[in-house]
């Protein structure tokens, strides 16, 4: 046969030197910034910018005590529920809207309107409707997070290649099977991009939702420390938020590589 042999996408096993270099690049700038911070705060005893060593020692004492169960975990729980709800609602509604012509014509102008409303201004409204408990806070997260997932799903579902759609029609692949094996996978690159946005918006809204009429949570704590002039503790909270953000991004990266392995493989082959 004269065909070119099966091309496997390059999955080079990284060498030790390569790994070290990658870590060096990733950690280099933060390390430099930290060093600059240490040097800057070492001499001046600024009230608002405590040295990293002070923050580090405060960190464990502040967050690994009772605050872990009263503030950190409940916040993360609300974040997780809010984000998951947003993803489910966004994908389900987005698929329905994207595949149903009349629904799309009916809803599209309204969706644009709701998307344009900053979720923060909904907080007082949601407080009136849902009280000041967990459901209000989760609702705030959802009210901001569903939009990127929903709108990206609509786009993705609508953008399925016409040749693929006709192939499915001619082979009579329909209904749930078509949804599961054709429409959603075809839309998955866009859905994943929506989820990525959803995660970063979710983290911000988690904090903001706890700044109103609240007595616990990560966002509440940080504001509380700030008002009580517990500056090192406040900074340690900001560091914690940053770490949570990195952890969330890492988890997302794992999920994306699993879901979109075909997409990245295809693009790598196309690039040659």
């Amino acid at each position: 046969m004269t065909q070119t042999p099966t091309r496997t996408p390059r999955t080079r096993r990284p060498s030790l030197a390569g790994t070290l270099r990658a870590v060096g690049y990733a950690a280099g700038l933060p390390a430099l910034a930290l060093l600059a911070w240490v040097l800057a705060t070492d001499r001046s005893a600024s009230l608002y910018f405590p040295s990293p060593t002070t923050i580090a020692s405060t960190f464990a004492a502040t967050w690994f005590g009772p605050a872990l169960t009263t503030d950190v975990l409940p916040s993360l729980g609300r974040f997780a529920i809010g984000v998951l709800l947003s993803i489910v609602i966004g994908v389900v509604a987005g698929t329905a809207i994207g595949t149903t012509r009349w629904l799309r014509d009916l809803l599209e102008p309204m969706l644009e309107f709701f998307r344009a409303v900053p979720p923060v201004v909904l907080v007082p409204v949601l407080m009136l409707m849902l009280g000041v408990g967990d459901s209000m806070r989760i609702a705030v997260i959802v009210s901001g997070c569903v939009w990127p997932v929903l709108l990206n799903t609509v786009e993705g579902v609508r953008g399925v290649d016409t040749v693929l759609t006709e192939t499915s029609r001619s082979y009579r692949v329909r209904g749930l099977l078509s949804l599961r094996s054709v429409v959603l996978p075809a839309a998955s690159p866009q859905i994943m991009a929506g989820i990525r946005l959803c995660l970063s918006i979710g983290l911000i809204l988690m904090v903001i939702s706890e700044m109103f009429a609240s007595s616990s949570g990560l966002g509440y704590r940080i504001v509380y420390f700030q008002r009580s002039f517990m500056i090192a503790q406040m900074w340690s909270g900001i560091v914690l938020l940053g770490l949570v953000g990195v952890a969330v991004a890492t988890l997302y990266g794992f999920a994306e590589r699993r879901v979109l392995h075909w997409y990245h493989g295809m693009r790598e082959v196309a690039r040659g």
């Binding site: 046969m1 004269t2 693929l164 006709e166 329909r174 099977l177 094996s181 075909w262 997409y263």
Partner: protein, 278 residues
């Protein structure tokens, strides 16, 4: 397009598996119209291998989409086994021109071939056997777990052919399937189509703009005129059943036929329709 799922009976000439009657298609484009097909009529008997040849843009793809129930004609009708085609029929498989876009990139080769069977409710074990047999038939028994984008263009088109074979259609419809592959691969794939036709006893409708290809492959060649399209000529190919890329193409009959088809197409391009059947 209204997607009706029922097929209603209609009369056909006896003996025809596929019957196209006064088929016309005019696209509505914005406020205007594009007449892609004026009026096409022909019959295909079960087990025939018919090539449809015509210049680019003459409406070959449009014709195939109407035949396969993907597009509603604006005039006339198509009947398969006496049933008017209003939606993609169970007994028909289509191989599209754009093979790269017609395979599901998130599914492995075997899942691509197996998906239509899954939709039909074929149980797992039987499905796996059919899929493997179809891929072996096209010489891809070793590539079951590969992804389509890891394969060369010719191999991707083989996967698409395997998918059609596994579907076990009565009619196999192919739209310029080899227009985008290199010459050697193309020759291999042409012989593959002849073999599949002989092995499976399936009826094949093969669309191409390549005159040599239509004569080499077909038992019969339908020459289409340029747009607005009608059937310019219905030609039967009296070449031996066993064809060979080198010796068949060297036969005087082959040269005669291709010259004839060529002239017909030139006449069609000039818009010379004198002597056309009414």
């Amino acid at each position: 397009m209204a997607d009706t799922t029922h097929e209603k009976p209609s009369e056909t000439r006896s003996g025809a598996l596929l019957s196209v009657r006064d088929l016309g298609k005019t696209y509505a484009v914005g406020s205007g119209e594009v007449e892609a097909i004026r009026s096409i009529s022909f019959d295909v008997r079960a087990g025939e291998l018919v090539c449809i040849v015509g210049p680019s843009g003459c409406g070959k793809t449009t014709l195939l989409k109407c035949l396969s129930g993907l597009l509603a004609p604006t005039a006339g009708s198509v009947a398969l086994d006496g049933q008017t085609v209003l939606a993609p029929p169970k007994k028909m498989a289509v191989v599209f021109q754009e093979y790269g876009r017609s395979l599901y990139p998130w599914l492995s080769v075997q899942d691509n071939v197996g998906l239509p069977l899954k939709a039909r409710g074929v149980p797992r074990g039987e499905r796996d056997d059919t899929v493997r047999a179809a891929l072996e038939e096209v010489g891809l028994g070793h590539a079951l777990t590969a992804f389509p984008w890891q394969l060369s263009g010719g191999m991707q088109q083989r996967v698409a052919i395997a998918r059609a074979i596994a579907y076990e259609p009565e009619v196999l419809v192919m739209d310029e399937p080899f227009a985008a592959v290199d010459a050697q691969t193309r020759a291999d794939l042409e012989d593959l189509v002849r073999r599949v036709w002989q092995d499976l006893g399936v009826t094949v409708l093969f669309v191409t703009h390549d005159i040599d290809e239509s004569v080499y492959l077909g038992e019969r060649v339908l020459v289409l005129s340029s747009s607005p399209t009608v059937v310019q000529e219905d030609l039967s190919v009296d070449l031996p059943a066993e064809r060979d890329q080198i010796s068949t193409r060297a036969l005087p009959q082959f040269t005669e036929l291709r010259t004839h088809v060529h002239e017909q197409i030139q006449r069609a391009k000039r818009g010379d329709r004198a002597g056309l059947p009414a």
